[in-house]
Symmetry: none
């Protein structure tokens, strides 16, 4: 573990604690929200809550690992020799990134065949992307980092392309009241996702030691909060809006009959 300042240590420490609070609160929000949407959208909300629950668990582990790696006494910081475990993030992403894509597909409530096909394809690509990023993250050699970064970018670009172009057609079949929100969800996915490859690159573009370490930890934490909890709120709003539309059209059918 490289030398960092007390201020950097505390910033990362508080960012991790903030993430635990956000992910935990978001999980409760999504699970309670299930009862407020139509049955067709409840699985989407279950998955949304699972993503933040898994993240809350991992941020608790990451927080404890960070605390164990350093000793702060007064204004002095020393490394304890216990290694900070960066692998927790990748274990988390291996689970949560495919689930994130699946929650977006589920809330669109496409025909069953299309749901299965899209969820399988995007879920597989997302897992592949995380697996390819890991060897790069574990390396301190610039060349090795760029090599794995480049490989992980291939599934990344395919997913982003698929969300933007491939889902375009499906969006036009969504109820007008929810179309704007679904479009926002696509944008939030893409913008928050673009954070990750940028944060990955920090140590390769001149940042070193404690600064690089702090920027990477805080950067990934912010990206995770937006991509999981922020994105999840959009999923909840889409599910709630579509539930209203469904109920209204059911009533309309009944009145006409």
């Amino acid at each position: 573990m490289e030398a960092i300042t007390v201020g950097q240590y505390e910033l990362v420490y508080n960012a991790f604690s903030f993430a635990i609070a956000v992910m935990g609160a978001a999980t409760v929000f999504f699970f309670l929200g299930r009862s407020q949407v139509a049955p067709a959208y409840r699985t989407a909300l279950t998955i949304t809550g699972l993503v933040t629950l898994i993240a809350a668990y991992h941020y608790l582990r990451i927080f404890n690992s960070w605390e164990a790696a350093f000793t702060v006494t007064g204004n002095q910081i020393t490394v304890t020799g216990i290694k900070f475990n960066d692998a927790y993030r990748y274990v988390d992403w291996l689970l949560t990134v495919p689930l994130l894509l699946i929650e977006l597909i589920l809330v669109m409530h496409l025909p069953r065949r299309e749901t299965v096909a899209k969820a399988t394809k995007l879920g597989f690509l997302a897992a592949l992307m995380v697996v390819l990023g890991y060897p790069g993250e574990m390396s301190s050699d610039g060349g090795t980092r760029w090599f794995w970064w480049g490989l992980a970018m291939i599934p990344f670009v395919i997913i982003v392309y698929d969300l933007f172009i491939g889902l375009q057609g499906s969006i036009s079949s969504q109820p007008a009241a929810a179309r704007g929100l679904i479009s926002s969800a696509r944008w939030v996915t893409i913008l928050s996702w673009c954070f990750y490859p940028v944060v990955f690159v920090f140590p390769m573009i001149g940042m070193t030691g404690g600064t690089a370490n702090t920027a990477v930890q805080v950067g990934y934490t912010v990206a995770d909060i937006v991509a999981k909890a922020g994105f999840g709120v959009l999923i909840f709003l889409i599910a709630a809006r579509k539930s209203e539309v469904d109920i209204a059209s059911d009533l309309h059918v009944q009145v006409r009959a």
Copy 2:
């Protein structure tokens, strides 16, 4: 950490434990209360419970940090060198203060466009207020403290003005049975909020060392309990009262038809 007496240490210690009990119990009350109100008010109660849940988490952290900072043996108290982490409060407020304003807006059940506009504006101002207060709180220099206090007071005054004047119009559109409660909720917000800038000022008006430290910790704890749990009970009462009114007017419509 400055010298404090055993009595001061114990007062703060017990205040923190009291806060954990209140926030935890309030969370359960609000979540169980969701099923007793009409669906339109459930999200307001969910958020009310999340605020106290997030606060319970942070008071647990604050309690542990306080305990780690001192060693008490008999009537002797010594500092351990482990720093008391004051940042937990600001991390908590960054999350809970915008949510507190959103729960008040949600329980008013305004038209969707107005809800989104007010929640965005007040939520943003609340977060800005907390961020501007933090550098002052971390400083022991009087001038620096006053400077950030002054900056944080700008969004503070705008929020208070908005609640008092801006919401006045919306209140008159509320059912008569709930109007008094909503007006109380506005007053509780403003009075409990005024506690915070006053507590912040304690170390700048002659209080020093352990006395200032104790007054700040106990002051913020009391303010948090009133602003989160006490205010939440009012939100629950408003939601319950408005649910009764809604059911009564629905029955009236059915009888007339």
